[in-house]
Assembly symmetry: none
């Protein structure tokens, strides 16, 4: 059974909460109910099981020392610190997005959202943005495919 796959339509309630589908709740329940919300530069909010997020943030030795010395390093701590936060999925299967994160993802209370599986967790997109993102992925793959066909013509051994 595939985990963290598929695509659900849902809505943001008046208090900025999102009700996950039973399928997604199940996938998270298997790995502990603690999750990490993380704002993506693409303009959506990712929800990862905690262990997945920790693996992303593989520990740097002596972060305090490096923070004192380097503005680049401070920015990287700031980027992940500010844009990541622990949450838990409630007994009703709801998840509350902090107001700042909601704003980042363009998730207005009362609006439509999409819960998008990404194999290691899910992403929450505003419906409009998801449609655009989907379009972009498709366009990219088409362009790539065209180039691959072209290259196959030229060399005869692209495969």
């Amino acid at each position: 059974m595939l985990a963290f796959c598929g695509l659900d339509r849902c809505s943001v309630d008046a208090n900025g909460r999102i009700k996950l589908s039973p399928r997604v709740i199940e996938d998270f329940a298997r790995r502990g109910s603690d999750v990490v919300l993380h704002c993506l530069p693409e303009g959506a909010v990712a929800v990862y099981p905690e262990d997945i997020y920790l693996a992303m943030r593989s520990a740097v030795p002596d972060p305090a020392k490096r923070a004192a010395e380097s503005v680049v390093f401070r920015r990287s701590l700031r980027r992940f610190g500010a844009w990541s936060q622990s949450e838990r999925i409630s007994a009703q299967g709801r998840i509350t997005l902090p107001a700042e994160y909601r704003e980042h993802a363009g998730l207005v209370p009362g609006s439509d959202a999409m819960v998008v599986g990404n194999e290691i967790g899910v992403e929450i997109w505003s419906r409009e943005r998801w449609l655009a993102e989907q379009q972009m992925i498709l366009e990219h793959e088409r362009e790539k495919g065209e180039r691959e066909m072209e290259s196959d013509l030229e060399t005869g051994r692209s495969i």
Copy 2:
């Protein structure tokens, strides 16, 4: 559960005090209530648990000797000396910023501020400055992403 993460909006009261969110108070409480305020060159004030700050400063070997020889070193001592100060979080979860530090960070009494997690502590930004900082980080990430996509088209093996 991640510590020193997330993003809170808050306000500077008439006396230059800031009320931290329960989440942040809890993170500090776990490490002792003594904190160090430190002015960052980026134009914000960092709040670190004392042990983190000491780790930042611990590895400065033989300061007396080096101070005699180097103006760069003297300036670095001065930067950390003048711009770092012990404080404590009050029983109400408030923290008082010295007037000089407030000024450095552009935190006018009565204005909006942001408490920004950086994984090893938090930073206090004026709302306007934080939005600009966030924009800069985002813009950088987007540019990086665009280049990565382009490279994926060209080589077909960026991943």
